[in-house]
């Protein structure tokens, strides 16, 4: 059966009205998260995981993926209309987007951004389709030793995610690993760090930790003093770009897609790197580069295309190798695991139909995002007029609901509160949070696959040297780790002010 056939089957599954509804709701929620200040994509997705646990795996993953790329678009709205990016990947859009708003061309900016997101997202998904089959067919070759090596590659990305200080990034990673060790260990079945609490035998709930560290701590660190904002939704007629706008945007769409897609494939790059690079490319190559900074459409089209191409492109390493390339993807991976699905080559072997359904739904989601967002811009802007205390109160309430519904127990609510304080502490100490999410997800996988490998080899470590795929991957991980010495990691200038890393 060829790729096309499987994709068509996937479309058939994804087009059921339930799955369409999930994709639709996901896009909607994702956009809300992107628009809302004080709740980023990481905490937002984690918060919504418990809600999706009751759904069947396909529905739940479809919804979470839709939320994931919906956030990228939501961030754009606030960048353009308010000059305050709802989300880091859209920060650069604010420069020209807000200028356009001042010129009364906000509607055009938002439409072009939506269209660019659609193009970038769809093309990146085509890339996923093409990559899925060759990599997915490796599935059965990936035994526990290969899987262990893959996880090691994932953990070596810590280095790529390190911000200003390698030491503090490693501390964050080690803390994440330690937290993931709580509970019954996969080796001897002995309870570890459970302090004799039954609730901890399963480990600390991943969702509660993420919601606490990323969401609650954000609200706790809030400093009042921001002035209430006044925004006006653009009228419907002003949403339509002119022929000139389209003509000028087309090359930017192409550049944005290329940059976003390529960056998305590289583990450790966040969406904001893509949009920054894309803006840089416009500055260098655009015919109208002199206008950039003064409301040029290219300054919106390029970066917005890039960040969505990035978001969809970043799903490729997740789907085909099981490597989460950024904290947001790590949270998404956590959701997969909670549904009993392990992303990676084995996903296509074990749950082929499901994997293709999700991929098909990515196309559908990109279309939905386009039709949803252009007309609904007015609604999103009205959210921004809600005073912060009301938003904060309601967000806190949803965090409690989210934490409670993980296991239907207040225990996880307490866990969330504790980790909210931990998050505040870490922010205060200038310790990056991203490595922690990564290791939190990968830690248990690493220990388990090591144990399984050693079970197979009856305790001999030679198994890792005997298998070619394992060796290649381990060498790759080693290269990533030593890359800072070779000055290959992301330029320091890009790492600054990137809340995702």
């Amino acid at each position: 059966m060829g790729v096309v056939n499987e994709l068509i089957l996937g479309f058939a599954e994804a087009m059921t009205w339930q799955n369409l509804l999930f994709a639709f709701v996901g896009c909607l929620l994702g956009t809300v998260i992107g628009v809302l200040p004080g709740i980023g994509p990481v905490a937002g997705i984690a918060l919504l995981i418990p809600l999706t646990l009751n759904l069947d795996p396909a529905g739940s993953i479809i919804m979470l993926c839709a939320i994931f790329y919906g956030t990228t678009y939501g961030g754009t709205i606030t960048s353009v209309l308010l000059n305050t990016p709802g989300e880091a990947a859209s920060a650069i859009t604010a420069i020209d987007g807000y200028q356009m708003t001042k010129m009364g061309r906000a509607g055009v900016a938002l439409t072009i951004a939506a269209f660019g997101s659609f193009i970038g997202g769809s093309i990146a998904t085509v890339g996923l389709v093409l990559a899925a089959k060759p990599l997915g067919s490796l599935g059965l070759l990936i035994g526990p030793p290969e899987f262990f090596a893959l996880v090691v590659v994932g953990i070596s990305l810590l280095v790529a995610l390190a911000g200003r200080s390698m030491v503090r990034a490693l501390i964050s990673g080690a803390l994440g690993l330690l937290i993931s060790m709580v509970g019954i260990d996969p080796v001897m079945g002995a309870p570890r760090f459970t302090f004799s609490m039954e609730r901890l035998l399963d480990g600390v709930s991943f969702v509660a930790v993420i919601v606490g560290v990323f969401g609650l701590s954000e609200i706790l660190s809030y400093r009042p003093g921001k002035k209430p904002v006044s925004v006006h939704a653009p009228g419907f007629r002003s949403l339509l770009p002119t022929r000139q706008d389209w003509k000028r945007s087309t090359p930017s769409f192409a550049r944005g897609t290329g940059i976003g897609f390529a960056m998305g494939l590289i583990p450790g790059m966040t969406g904001s790197v893509s949009s920054l690079l894309s803006y840089g490319a416009e500055k260098k190559f655009s015919k109208h580069r002199a206008e950039l900074g003064h409301g040029a459409i290219e300054g919106v089209a390029g970066p917005e295309t890039a960040n969505n191409a990035h978001a969809n492109g970043a799903l490729i390493p997740l789907f085909t190798l099981g490597i989460p390339a950024s904290p947001t993807i790590a949270v998404l991976m956590g959701a997969f695991l909670q549904q009993g699905l392990t992303p990676g080559p084995t996903l296509f072997a074990e749950h082929g139909t499901l994997a293709w359904t999700i991929i098909a739904s990515l196309f559908i989601g990109n279309v939905l995002l386009l039709v949803l967002n252009v007309p609904l811009v007015g609604l999103w802007t009205s959210i921004l007029r809600v005073p912060y205390p009301i938003l904060a109160g309601l967000i806190l309430m949803f965090m409690v609901v989210g934490a409670y519904t993980i296991n239907f127990s207040v225990f996880d609510v307490f866990v969330m509160i504790i980790f909210g304080l931990v998050g505040v502490g870490l922010r205060h100490l200038d310790i990056p949070l991203a490595p922690m999410v990564l290791t939190l997800v990968l830690g248990p996988l690493m220990e388990r696959s090591l144990r399984e490998s050693l079970d197979i080899s009856h305790g001999s470590f030679i198994i890792f040297a005997e298998r070619p795929i394992t060796m290649v991957l381990l060498v790759l991980a080693l290269l990533i780790i030593v890359s800072p010495l070779l000055k290959l990691r992301k330029p320091a200038a890009l790492a600054v002010d990137d809340p995702e890393s």
Binding site: P186, N407, I456
Partner: protein, 329 residues
């Protein structure tokens, strides 16, 4: 701070538990269930899993039989331990009952390191609904075509042949220990604690040569010709895999199965217990329920409270015998 919070939580939980049960007041057995008072059916696993699905299937029939609301309440966590503790510690008045599954219900109290706050005696069985025997399978191109070949090969090369489990002290691990103990074979278990699908992937990729799993898990693999089932660990052949001989047919006395049923806190008044047991039997043997269970690949195998109690005791005995073998050294 942490200590304080944990104390608070424990306090809150235990108060909640007493709150729930003390609310019931007194009643005479004949009037059970009191008008308008609902019965809680505790499921110790997450919504959507096989245990939860089974409970939700019998729920409407139970409601009709008992003439009151039956609420399915999920209390997942710690491989069932949280929910089981809640059932065992509830007031034995019939208003709290729960789903139980073995081996978890048998193994959790046996394993001291888990510090379980209940024992086997704290629960009284109501009925068994499902039994899903374990099987042993090899790859289709494997040189072993009978159970005897495989066991002899394992005897000849002790520890060399690997077999999958779904985790340390899981049902499959006990089964392997039972096989090793009673046949003299020496399989090495490889624990896939993420679950059965991981184990079968490793088996399909030939990373592990022998698959130990439930009948319901291997049916599809057998149909697709991806696995050769050599023996079933039950007293009789399975309806789903009728061509597979049992272990005892081939001269090995090993019986091992995953079973699921329902239980109540020990000490129910006899009349209440009788009412619940009758309602359970009606619900489990309801044709529609049986059909839906079949669609899930689960064969209904009803046992009344007494038989289920004996089955349970037998399992406990079997597991106790091999417990030292499955506990890590």
């Amino acid at each position: 701070m942490k200590k304080l919070i944990s104390a608070l939580t424990v306090g809150a939980l235990s108060l909640a538990a007493t709150g729930c049960s003390s609310a019931s007041g007194t009643q005479s057995a004949d009037s059970f269930p009191e008008n308008g008072k609902s019965i809680e059916l505790v499921v110790a696993f997450s919504p959507g899993g096989p245990v939860d699905t089974a409970a939700r299937l019998i729920q409407p029939v139970l409601e009709k039989e008992l003439g009151t609301n039956v609420e399915v309440v999920n209390k997942p966590g710690a491989g069932g331990q949280i929910g089981y503790t809640a059932i065992a510690n509830a007031k034995p008045d019939g208003y709290t009952i729960g789903s139980v599954g073995s081996p978890s219900i048998v193994v959790i109290p046996l394993d001291e390191s888990r510090g379980a706050a209940f024992s086997r005696e704290d629960l009284q069985p109501l009925a068994r609904q499902v039994v899903d025997p374990l099987v042993i399978a090899v790859q289709p191109d494997s040189p072993y075509s009978t159970l005897k070949d495989l066991l002899e090969a394992s005897k000849a090369k002790p520890g060399e042949i690997n077999a999958t489990t779904t985790g340390q002290m899981g049902g499959e691990h006990f089964a392997i220990a039972q096989i090793n103990e009673s046949t003299g074979a020496a399989f090495s278990p490889v624990h896939f604690s993420e679950g059965a699908s991981q184990a079968s992937t490793a088996f399909l990729g030939k990373h592990v040569g022998v698959l130990v799993g439930n009948v319901s898990e291997v049916v599809d693999l057998t149909k697709q010709g991806k696995a050769k089932v050599l023996g079933i660990m039950d007293s009789k052949r399975s309806d789903i895999l009728p061509e597979v001989p049992t272990f005892s047919e081939q001269g090995y006395e090993v019986i091992s199965a995953t079973a699921r049923g329902y239980a109540a806190p020990a000490g129910l008044p006899d009349a209440v217990a009788k009412k619940l047991e009758d309602a359970m039997q009606a619900a489990i043997e309801n044709e529609e329920v049986i059909e839906k269970m079949d669609n899930l690949g689960l064969t209904t195998s009803f046992q009344n409270s007494q038989e289920y109690g004996e089955f349970w005791a037998k399992q406990e005995e079997d597991y106790k015998a091999v417990l030292p073998l499955v506990q890590a050294k």
